[in-house]
Subunit: 353 residues, 2 copies
């Protein structure tokens, strides 16, 4: 992101102005958008250099790099509990955190639709900057493109993160073993149902608020409490929900899973909204929840560490990995029955993140 | 990019199939798209791990990290000399190269429009994989989202790159000094006019072909020939063209520039197409050209190194940085006159990259 500001020009009209194609053309208007909007919000020395990329200190000796990317196309752009700006920070920070990494740097790339209000763009960028500060990451470089009206949808944001993976940490989807405890950091379905309730204009006694949050602090609290080796798998159950995440892990690790339905926290509002729309909360996206597969002998310490963190107050032990050559995920229902929990098939909630 | 393949399902129809919203929903269809299309084309151990990010070796001791990102929204998606896939690799590889870095890793994020033909997507992904192999970079992680028909435009691709910056190298837009030679690696305007000719269905005696190419090899050849300290500024003149790039450098470094119009290579076809469309080649985008500002005592060695590389065969010394408190870029015309070369104002060629 070139942050050079050209000589004197009239300031951008951030109150009533709109995105036009010139903002993506690489000339004076783009330089102005970047210096007056992006560079101001994300202010840091890396961006201020004004070059085509950022020069960054390498991780400490013995640490590996972790890299993750996420495109964000959520609709609507603003929702209870967040917006595409904060979501685009949380999504990528969480991808790094569940690799066991300490998130360090973000790159942000914007695809703007011609005609979008600059005032709304500024709100999104400010929200993104606040989320980055809260998560302890720095937006070090970026890019902006503009597409014609009807060829985009307001704002799409791709964020890419780089983090440092401390020696000894190596969680991965393929590392679960039969007997591992399955922990979940809180109730499921809040993000997906917050978006759906807004799209469908559903009104409930109390509003459903997205759980969108950065999980890196929670992951650090976990690693502080148990040996790194005991943390087998970390995942954030986003698109496809808890059900799909657990199926992925089962397939990757070659294990089965047995879950206890009664142990999985779901809020009454999400439960009601899901009933109304014919959805199963197990398949609804979350943006601030952590799934941990942990060696059983350390499961209680891990759960206590989650409980002690604000984002894990409602954490629960929801089941265990099993030896199952068919890698099935099964759930014990309230009536003593048992049902299969398959991958999400087809498309349940488009553009949820 | 989770590359886990779920249990047996019918293979994707890569000949006649189309993108549907399910491919972005996080379930079985998305897992299939990723394993059968992306992971197959980009095959490497980082992707094969199937986690939410990639774990990568850190740069060697003493090297710094460089990070750059670019969204690609070029229209049309296929053009003479390339397509959005190869372009998305070259764009980010070049951003790293002009920071002086050796490009190592790419993250790729796709925003697909519902209904887009899978066969075309496969062509794009294969082209991307070939360009990455040729440039010596590895696509280590990725993400896919799908938007409804009419909310996107086929395919948008954001690539983010990480590279290693060897000790001693520190080119930057603010480092030019009066007297520095301005070198250009070849003729300008080919990329932008290849796109425009296709959009406007212009026919010329010989087709205009995009110069889209990875510049990291050329940059390494330059550093092999002159002391790192002598390389003051590297830039690839993309959106806004050579004129805007030189204005950016002039502003960042607080210098002026004097160029020699006759020394700037432009092909006859690009010249003719620009005349026809009322465009100035100085403002037309390039995707495989390098601008070097170099200490004058090393300029001839630098130019010889460019000439010796296939991408620099037509390299030329086009002018010099000057002491000018107003940071003007001026050009000596063929008739002994002199004109100002300003920043690109407004929008000349939308969606050129």
């Amino acid at each position: 992101m070139n942050t050079v500001k050209p000589g004197y020009v009239r300031p951008l009209d951030l109150r009533n102005g709109r995105v036009d194609l010139g903002f993506g053309a690489g000339g004076r208007a783009m330089a102005q958008l970047i210096s007056e909007l992006f560079a101001r919000a994300f202010a840091n020395d890396y961006l201020a250099r004004g070059d085509d990329g950022a020069v960054l200190p390498a991780p400490a000796a013995g640490e590996r790099l972790v890299m993750a990317t996420d495109a964000h196309v959520v609709s609507p752009l603003f929702f209870p509990g967040g917006d595409i700006g904060s979501l685009s920070v949380h999504g990528t920070v969480n991808d790094l955190a569940v690799m066991g990494a300490r998130p360090l740097y973000l790159a942000a790339s914007f695809i703007l639709e011609e005609g979008y209000a600059l005032a709304e763009l500024a709100r999104i960028v400010d929200s993104m900057a606040a989320a980055a500060r809260a998560a302890g990451v720095v937006v070090v470089t970026g890019d902006t493109k503009v597409v014609e009206q009807g060829k985009g949808d307001g704002v799409f944001i791709t964020t890419t993160g780089v983090g440092a993976l401390p020696a000894g940490r190596d969680p991965g989807g393929a590392r679960a073993r039969p007997g591992d405890a399955v922990l979940l950091s809180g109730r499921i379905g809040d993000h997906g149902m917050a978006i759906m309730a807004q799209r469908e204009s559903l009104a409930f006694d109390s509003e459903i608020v997205s759980d969108s949050a950065a999980l890196n602090g929670l992951v650090e609290a976990l690693y502080a409490a148990v040996p790194a080796e005991a943390v087998r798998v970390l995942r954030d159950p986003t698109r496809g929900g808890l059900a799909t995440t657990l199926n992925e892990i089962a397939t990757q690790s070659g294990v089965g899973m047995e879950l206890d339905e009664a142990a999985i926290p779901v809020s009454p509002q999400v439960h009601a909204a899901c009933e109304l729309l014919g959805l199963d909360p197990l398949y609804v996206a979350n943006e601030g929840k952590l799934v941990v597969l942990c060696a059983p002998e350390h499961a209680e310490a891990a759960l206590a560490a989650l409980h002690a963190h604000p984002l894990g107050a409602e954490a629960a032990r929801i089941g265990a990995a099993t030896a199952d050559p068919q890698h099935f995920v099964q759930i014990r229902t309230g009536f003593g029955g048992r049902r299969m929990v398959d991958w999400l098939a087809g498309e349940q909630l488009p553009r949820i993140c």
